[in-house]
């Protein structure tokens, strides 16, 4: 029966986040707000990892499946992108390449600077 309590915690946090989001109109999606709330709850210990272990394992193990229907939505928007899909694809590829390199370089650089400079 533990799974009901676990689900209640997650859905409760999400509902609370949804209400905060509606009432305050802050431009952060409710589930992301919920993620911050859960992280804070874990850090200060109101929620323990064991309190949500079954539900979190289930969702994390099967996360990718949940994106299937939204991905199928591509067939609706194909009309918008069909003339430019190759450009869109290349931009996505190129920006991934550059962003990954720059992220790694930044981490190394800050580490070196902190150690008293690379020189």
């Amino acid at each position: 029966m533990k799974v009901f309590k676990e689900l209640a915690i997650i859905i409760g946090i999400l509902l609370f986040s949804y209400l905060i989001q509606k009432l305050s109109q802050i431009p952060v999606p409710a589930p992301v707000l919920g993620m911050i709330l859960l992280l804070v709850s874990l850090l200060i210990g109101i929620v323990k990892l064991e309190d949500i272990e079954l539900v979190s394992k289930f969702f994390l193990d099967h996360l990718t499946f949940l994106f299937v229907p939204s991905g199928v939505g591509l067939m609706l928007v194909w009309g918008i992108i069909k003339e430019q899909w190759a450009v869109i694809f290349l931009i996505a590829l190129f920006t991934t390449f550059l962003a990954m390199g720059i992220t790694g370089i930044t981490v190394e650089l800050v580490k070196k600077l902190r150690e008293g400079g690379p020189w």
Binding site: P27, L39, L42, L66, G104, I105
Partner: protein, 231 residues
């Protein structure tokens, strides 16, 4: 709308079957580009087109599956919490790396998108693509993009990062293990993290930590950067 399929059961059943076939093919071929999601999308879109069934009919069931993305996103706090003690030693380089990487992802998409005359809605859809799908598609809707395009972009980021990651590290001469992990997680989310885990424990831990932090950073900075650069 196809009347006799006017039930959520159809979309859920088709999604389950297609994803299972995807997992089977992925296991057999072990190729990142043939991810279960990519295969499932090809199977579903292909069969809907073939059988002349519209998206609306499929999505009766599809929307029930999509609903669970909300709780799943909340649960992303769990891997972040498990890895958060890794932050202690080199918090500064890691956080700066994630922020710089996320900002670069957003800005480069906007600039290139404008250069190549992409429409505003397409650019906005691509802005969140470096973050994990749960966050990218929520954010896409929030900033005026189209979540389906965002998912396609997110797939490109993940799969290409997984495939090119090792070469990118060589080209940019990145050797530090933490730097490699942060780079993979920040730009290629969970799919890049799978590669990071193959490389080693430090890389894997750093990468999975970076997914959620990059997602949060992007959620807060994307609307601001869009206003500045597209306003």
């Amino acid at each position: 709308m196809v009347d006799y399929l006017d039930t959520p059961l159809f979309g859920i059943f088709l999604s389950l079957i297609a994803f299972q076939i995807g997992m089977y093919i992925n296991k057999r071929t072990k190729m990142a580009i043939l991810s279960p999601l990519v295969i499932a999308l090809i199977i579903i879109i292909g069969s809907l087109n073939l059988l002349k069934i519209d998206y609306e009919t499929f999505n009766k069931g599809g929307s029930i599956i999509s609903f669970f993305l909300g709780p799943a996103t909340v649960i992303l706090a769990v891997p972040l919490y498990k890895q958060i003690n890794r932050l202690k030693e080199s918090a500064l380089p890691i956080l700066i790396g994630i922020v710089v990487g996320s900002v670069f992802s957003i800005v480069s998409v906007i600039i290139l998108g404008k250069m190549f005359d992409l429409s505003e809605v397409v650019i906005k859809s691509l802005v969140p693509k470096a973050t994990t799908t749960a966050i990218s598609q929520e954010l896409s809707a929030q900033i005026g993009g189209i979540p389906a395009i965002t998912i396609a972009g997110t797939l490109v980021n993940g799969i290409s990062g997984n495939l090119m990651g090792v070469y990118i590290m060589k080209i940019f001469r990145i050797r530090d293990k933490e730097a490699v992990g942060v780079a993979l997680g920040t730009t290629s989310h969970a799919v890049g993290t799978a590669k990071a885990m193959e490389l080693g424990e430090i890389e894997g831990g750093m990468s999975s930590l970076s997914i959620s932090i990059a997602g949060l950073v992007t959620v807060f900075l994307a609307p601001i950067l869009i206003r500045l650069l597209m306003g």
